[in-house]
Amino acid sequence: MKKWAKGFCPLLLLFGSMPAGLLPPAFADPILKSQAPCNKGTPDVCQLFTSAGAPSFVVRSIGFRAPSAGSALVLFQGTLYCAHNLNGREAIDIDTQIVDVETAVAARDQPGGARYLFKLQPGNTSATVSTNASRVFTGQAAGLHDYYFAVNRTTIDPGITCYFYNDSLTVAFVPK
């Protein structure tokens, strides 16, 4: 037997004697998935809402098939613009949250949650805020997962119209 081959023998014995689960694993690379911006309205907004609509709704969703168990970092990117043309000072108060159940009601105090409360000045006025968000989902099993950006409006005074712009979800999946 050649000298170099003899050198491998202890390694072969070492790894050959161990259960497969203890062998150094071949780590999979992380996976990124995103989606095109959401510009489905006229003008090019993603979603419009007023006091007339349902208080709880989903703005965007993304499906992701995990090839193995792991963790997912879900990122949301977008802006919110609200406007009115009334003589009084009017309020908007919404909770947003990245969730993995379509019917979940967004909550500011839950993972990936946030609150946006602002008041519009009297007259033809408006306000804009970024609604960027992130949430880590640990313990994700292999298979299909759906993630949503959910909104729950607790207050939106009559006369105010709000617009979500762009609104894209991105998933960075890290295999276990």
């Binding site: 004697s17 780590f27 993972p111 609150r115 949430r135």
Partner: protein
């Protein structure tokens, strides 16, 4: 060497390797050899489910959240902050809320909007109208990359420096969650 003694040696070496792996010795398999994500629960202890309320009487520098990364191999940590907030003026006249935020590691100087992972929130709030306060919302999302040396543990902080908070103005921050994506070399 007989087959039995070869098998015994292999078992002995295998047991030593397993022990070393469990003790996180260099060269063995551990969590630092692959990417991983770490996060923390949201911060929501206030009566309005806010994380923190601050005003002109608050300390000029505040540490809002922190997250610890245990000892790792060399690599890069991408630290993200998630959260929102609003400031409110309940008094007559224009009033200002102005503060810097920054993702930092332990030992850094006061947070600054000029530093990496830094931001500034500056608001001029209108006068209260017959009890109808002026309120303005903002987003806190930010990120920052850190290098980690081999075997180094690190604590990452989300800190604020209050530049100006007028009397009658207060602000609330919501959720304020730090997450870390660690990428080994």
């Amino acid at each position: 060497m007989t087959a039995t003694s070869r098998s015994n040696i292999a078992r002995l070496v295998g047991a030593a390797w397993l022990l070393a792996a469990l003790m996180n010795w260099p060269g063995t398999v551990n969590a630092a050899s692959q990417q991983f994500l770490k996060t923390e629960p949201p911060c929501a202890g206030g009566p309005d489910k806010e994380c923190i309320t601050f005003d002109g009487q608050s300390p000029s520098v505040l540490t809002v959240r922190s997250i610890k990364l245990d000892q790792q191999g060399p690599g890069t940590g991408l630290v993200l902050i998630h959260g929102s907030g609003h400031c409110e003026n309940g008094t007559a006249g224009l009033h200002v809320a102005d503060f810097d935020t920054q993702i930092q590691q332990a030992g850094e100087a006061a947070p600054s909007h000029n530093g990496p992972g830094g931001e500034r929130v500056g608001l001029v709030l209108q006068s209260s109208l017959l009890g109808n306060n002026d309120v303005f919302a903002f987003n806190l999302s930010a990120l920052r990359l850190f290098r980690l040396k081999s075997g180094e543990a690190q604590r990452y902080l989300y800190r604020m420096a209050l530049n100006r908070m007028d009397d009658g103005v207060f602000c609330k921050l919501y959720n304020v969650t730090l997450s870390v994506l660690f990428d080994p070399d």
